[in-house]
Symmetry: C2
Subunit: 249 residues, 2 copies
C-alpha cells in the first residue's frame, strides 16, 4: 500500500534539474524510475559531503550501505543455494564472499555507471580514502531500492542487473587467486620476509582440517584453514592480503 501511494505521489512531484538527472541515471542503472527519490539521494551521498541533520548525526550513505549489504547477501545466498543443490554451506559461503568482495563490487559499480551519480568531496581524495567508494555506493543503492520498492524488486535488480550480466560464476569457482604469490611479492618489495607455520591439524572424523599461520618478519598476521596444508596456506595468505589491504593493488 505504502509503495502504491509513493508510486502515485511520484507522478505529481516537480523535480529540480539535478533531481531529474538523478532519476534518469537511476532508471538507466536499475531499469525503472524511483517512486520515492529520497533514499536514492542519500544513497549517492558519500560521508565526505554529508551534512549534520541532528545532534552531530550525518545523513550519509553508510546506513543504507549496511542495509543494502544485507539485502545483497540474502539474494546471492538464495541464488547459490538453488543453483548448487549438492554443494555444502562452506562452498556457498566462499563463492558468495567472492561475489560480494570489495574488488568485484567496485568493478561492477564502475561498469554500470555508479561513478557518475555518487557525490563526494574530491579534494579530500587520497589513494586509500575512497578505495571502496563505488562498491559501497552500489550497496547503498541496493538499500535504497529495497526501501523504495521492496524485496522482490531489489532481488530482481540484483539478479538481472548485477549477478547474471556481470559475473561468470563458473569462472569464479574455478579461479583460485594466488594470494600466496601476491603476499610474497608484496613482502619482498617491503624488504620483509614471510613464513608459514603449521599450527594444528583437526581430526574431523572422515577428514582432516589444517590450520596454518602466516607471519611477516616473525609477527603473526593471519590464520587460514583448509583440507590440505597448501589450501590452508592460501587461505591464510588471502586473509593476510585482506588485512594488509593488498586486494586492490
Amino acid at each position: 500500500m505504502r509503495l502504491f501511494v509513493n508510486r502515485i505521489k511520484s507522478v505529481f512531484i516537480s523535480y529540480s534539474k539535478e533531481d531529474k538527472a538523478l532519476i534518469a541515471s537511476i532508471k538507466m542503472i536499475a531499469g525503472s524510475k524511483p517512486y520515492n527519490l529520497k533514499p536514492y539521494k542519500i544513497a549517492t551521498q558519500h560521508t565526505s559531503v554529508a551534512k549534520s541533520v541532528k545532534r552531530g548525526f550525518k545523513e550519509s550513505n553508510e546506513r543504507l550501505e549496511y542495509l543494502g549489504d544485507a539485502v545483497l547477501s540474502v539474494v546471492v545466498a538464495e541464488y547459490l543455494f538453488k543453483r548448487y543443490p549438492f554443494k555444502d554451506e562452506g562452498f556457498l559461503t566462499e563463492i558468495r564472499s567472492r561475489i560480494v568482495s570489495r574488488d568485484s563490487l567496485n568493478n561492477v559499480a564502475r561498469t554500470i555507471g555508479v561513478p557518475q551519480i555518487v557525490r563526494y568531496d574530491k579534494k579530500r581524495k587520497t589513494p586509500n580514502s575512497h578505495k571502496s567508494l563505488f562498491g559501497n555506493t552500489l550497496e547503498a543503492l541496493i538499500g535504497a531500492i529495497y526501501l523504495d520498492k521492496g524485496f522482490k524488486h531489489s532481488r530482481s535488480f540484483i539478479l538481472n542487473k548485477l549477478l547474471k550480466p556481470h559475473f561468470d560464476i563458473e569462472e569464479l569457482i574455478n579461479t583460485t587467486k594466488n594470494y600466496k604469490s601476491k603476499l610474497i611479492e608484496w613482502t619482498q618489495k617491503q624488504s620483509k620476509s614471510p613464513s608459514f607455520q603449521h599450527l594444528e591439524t583437526i581430526d574431523k572424523g572422515h577428514y582432516k582440517e589444517f590450520i596454518m599461520e602466516v607471519r611477516i618478519d616473525d609477527e603473526p598476521i593471519a590464520k587460514g584453514h583448509g583440507l590440505s596444508k597448501k589450501k590452508a596456506e592460501q587461505d591464510a595468505a588471502r586473509e593476510a592480503c585482506l588485512k594488509l589491504e593488498l586486494e586492490e593493488q
Copy 2:
C-alpha cells in the same frame, strides 16, 4: 504461483504420523502450517543424522542454516534501520550482532520449542559438539520458511515470533556484558594470566579510536577497538571470549 500450487497440493497429501507431528510443531512455532514439508524436514535434521544423497553429499540442515542466517540478517537490519533513524551503521551492526549471537539464538530456540523438533545423534553428544544446535536449527527453520512461503512471510515470522516477543532491544543496548571479568575469571581457573596492551591510537579527526590487544601468558589472543581504552579492552575481551568459546559457560 509456485507457492500457491504448493498450498493447494498440501491439502491432498496424506502424511505419516511422524510428519503430522512435525506439521503440528511447525504450526505451533511459526504460526501456520507448512505448504511444502520437505524444507522443514531438512531444517530439523542435524548433520549427525543426515544420510548421503549424492556422491557423499549429506542433506543436513547446514545449507538451510546458511540461507536462514542471511534472511535473519536482512530482516533484523531493516528493523533496526527503521527503528533508529539517527544511529550510525556501527551502532546498527553492533546491536544486530547481539541479537543474532549464538547465545541469544540458542535461548530463543529453546523457548519456542526447537529442541522438540530437531533430530540429532544423541550418542555422539559431547559438551561442545552440539553447543549451537538449537540456534543453528532455528536459522535453518527460517531458511525453510523462506523457501516455503517467501520473504514477506519469513520477515513476519522473524519480527512477530522472534524479535518482538523475545528481545528487549533497549535492554540489549544498555547492557554491556562484562567480558573483561569473564575472561579474567576464566584465566584464573586455568592458572594463566591475562594482560591488556595498548597498540595504537587512531586520530579520526573529531574523535580518537583506541586499539587494545589482550594477551594470555603473553600470547596475543584478540584485538579490540573503541572510543576509550576501557571500551577497547572490553571489545578485545569480548573477541577473546568468542575465540575461546567462553560464551556459553
